[in-house]
Symmetry: C2
Subunit: 273 residues, 2 copies
């Protein structure tokens, strides 16, 4: 099977817009749907949502999934000053859970206050790198997921599925330590259980076996999604094939990782085609 490219026009800036973002998101989604209609075997889409307008965003997600065939949506961390677990944003998660539409948490630069405390004081280039691909993106996205767990979103919506990129944005690499919060969380299940029930992770072009192993250990092999992060982490198709072949996964698990898990995750959406 050839690779499928998943499109989304979501940008963090859309998160901070008001009413204008509703029409902007509709236009973006329609444009992407039209592109996919020309190459349905090459492209799929995640809905772009007017996240600053949560009720409208919930409705747009429904339109995108039911009418346009979108496979889920993509959110980019905090919305203005609100973390993703803020009660204002509940309608979006409710809609996603009802539609069985996955939510990809795309990394976003940390809020300005966090950037000031942690990621600034060097050259403009270093500050930017440190707060984004160097570390800040990954800490931020991982924290957003943990906040959803601690806020009880997965107790409330047991079937809600979140996708984290970059092998889980670091939190999987300290899962045993994070599990210490079970003592105080007052949730129905352990953190480890939510990792296994509500989280998918992508490779994002980080083709390193110890990352794959740790991710498989925490979320299970049926929750690993292959992805290349093209064009940022571009590898030749030969590199890609070698990574899969040397992954230590058997033939069936390799197929699941390469595309089966994604098809499983997105195969039962209530869309029309």
């Amino acid at each position: 099977m050839a690779g499928v490219q998943v499109l989304s026009l979501t940008t963090p800036s859309l998160h901070d817009l008001g009413p204008d973002s509703v029409e902007l998101a509709r236009c973006a989604n329609d444009a992407v749907a039209e592109a996919i209609a020309h190459h349905p075997d090459r492209f799929q889409a995640l809905a772009t949502l007017p996240v600053g307008m949560p009720d409208e965003a919930a409705l747009e997600l429904e339109r995108c999934v039911r009418t346009l065939g979108c496979k889920g949506t993509m959110l980019c961390g905090h919305v203005g000053h609100r973390s993703l677990d803020h009660t204002d944003l509940l309608p979006i998660f409710q809609s996603a859970a009802a539609l069985k539409a996955a939510i990809l948490l795309y990394p976003r630069a940390p809020a300005k206050t966090a950037r000031n405390v942690y990621y600034s004081g060097f050259s403009p280039l270093v500050d930017a790198a440190f707060s984004c691909f160097g570390l800040g993106w990954h800490y931020d996205a991982g924290i957003q997921f943990l906040r959803l767990v601690l806020a009880g979103h997965f107790a409330r919506f047991p079937n809600l599925q979140i996708i984290l990129e970059h092998w889980g944005e670091m939190i999987l690499f300290y899962a045993e330590r994070i599990a210490s919060m079970d003592r105080v969380s007052e949730l129905n299940h352990s953190m480890a259980t939510y990792f296994r029930r509500n989280l998918y992770v992508t490779a994002s072009g980080m083709f390193m076996l110890h990352y794959l192993k740790q991710a498989a250990r925490v979320v299970g092999r049926d929750r690993l999604l292959f992805s290349t992060d093209y064009p940022y982490q571009y590898r030749s198709s030969g590199d890609t094939r070698r990574f899969l072949e040397n992954s230590g996964l058997d033939q069936a698990d390799r197929q699941e990782f390469a595309h089966g898990n994604w098809e499983q995750l997105t195969g039962n959406l209530p869309h029309a085609f």
Copy 2:
């Protein structure tokens, strides 16, 4: 060889005090030195410093190492509103480098602004756990180390040695991603080189082999320090022995991990006994 317990009375609150902290630190160090004098084969010490008074702290470190036999010092992340790389604090690092005294970066709860952005909004117990042992401590301490690298401290003081606890406070688990900052850092060496030249990591009672393997991969086996984090992560001596025996390290590397690397790190200090 029996285990050695390394004592330090450093507390984050000492970091935020003014002139009073100078005398307080002297008293603490003298008291610890007296305790050690009674059991020199059981205890060692890291100097407690009046970090808010950097020039005095540098002198106190020298007194502690040269006169009291301290093995290094322990810092607790940010000092008031200043990150550890702040130029005000340079005298402390200069003194440590000149004395060949290692600096243990003990995790501290993130600054209030970071706690507000990332680690609050749940119950008081969850907020506290999330910002401390659940995640915040570890993110904070790892960032402090990376800030020292990016600020050029190891270019300036090539022999300066930092110890991170908990297998490197997460940053070792994303070393390949952090290395992407090499493109913009304008340092003499790569991040990977500073990890291998200027960083030691402790086990802190997290007896998991995949942590040991990743730490060894990044800093090298000669920079791993065994520690139990007693009494927080208390394990029986049987557990401890099993972890060492099952570590995959050969007999010589096990000895180095158990005590040899620590002796190597602290064996050339200019103290009097």
